[in-house]
Assembly symmetry: C2
Homo-oligomer: 99 residues x 2
């Protein structure tokens, strides 16, 4: 099963199949010494990034954080309802190294 | 298959199975009128967020952007090598609404 299949499969399960949506998954495979759960804070910062591209509000966002063994996972499902912000997104600050 | 299974499965395929790693997937289901591909720019901004939590450099990051039908997908695999940044992440700017 490819990631695309996975994404399509989760679309059919979601009650409101918005014409346009964004799904963000952050999976952190930890070892014992790693930081306490940081995904809650990172979730807010990722949403700030998304808001530069789409005018979204709270009820467009479904967020879940779950754990299994040494893995912690954040799943964000965002209904977009064609709410793009037309102007190009601002260049990210500090362009010294780009991946 | 759950998301956790998917994440574990992709771990075995990756050559260097780092003890600690982060996988970020952004899937955008578009309609015709939506913005041109913005995932390249969003990728940089998400990496800026990750760098607040982990001291990572370019060769720790594997980034892929792919398309299938109306879906565009960014996949980031980041080897962490226990490179946490100890201090707590700065609170995100503008806390007026939290999801």
């Amino acid at each position: 099963m490819s990631l695309f299949d996975f994404f399509k499969k989760s679309r059919h399960n979601s009650a409101a199949t918005a014409k346009e949506r964004l799904q963000i998954i952050v999976a952190h495979q930890r070892n014992q010494s790693s930081q306490p759960q940081f995904l809650e804070t990172m979730k807010q910062e990722i949403l700030e990034v998304v808001k530069k591209y789409f005018a979204i509000d709270l009820d467009d966002i479904k967020a879940d954080i779950s754990h299994e063994g040494e893995t912690e996972m954040l799943e964000l499902n965002i209904n977009l309802h064609n709410k793009e912000i037309p102007q190009a997104a601002p260049a990210s600050s500090g362009d010294e190294n780009t991946a």
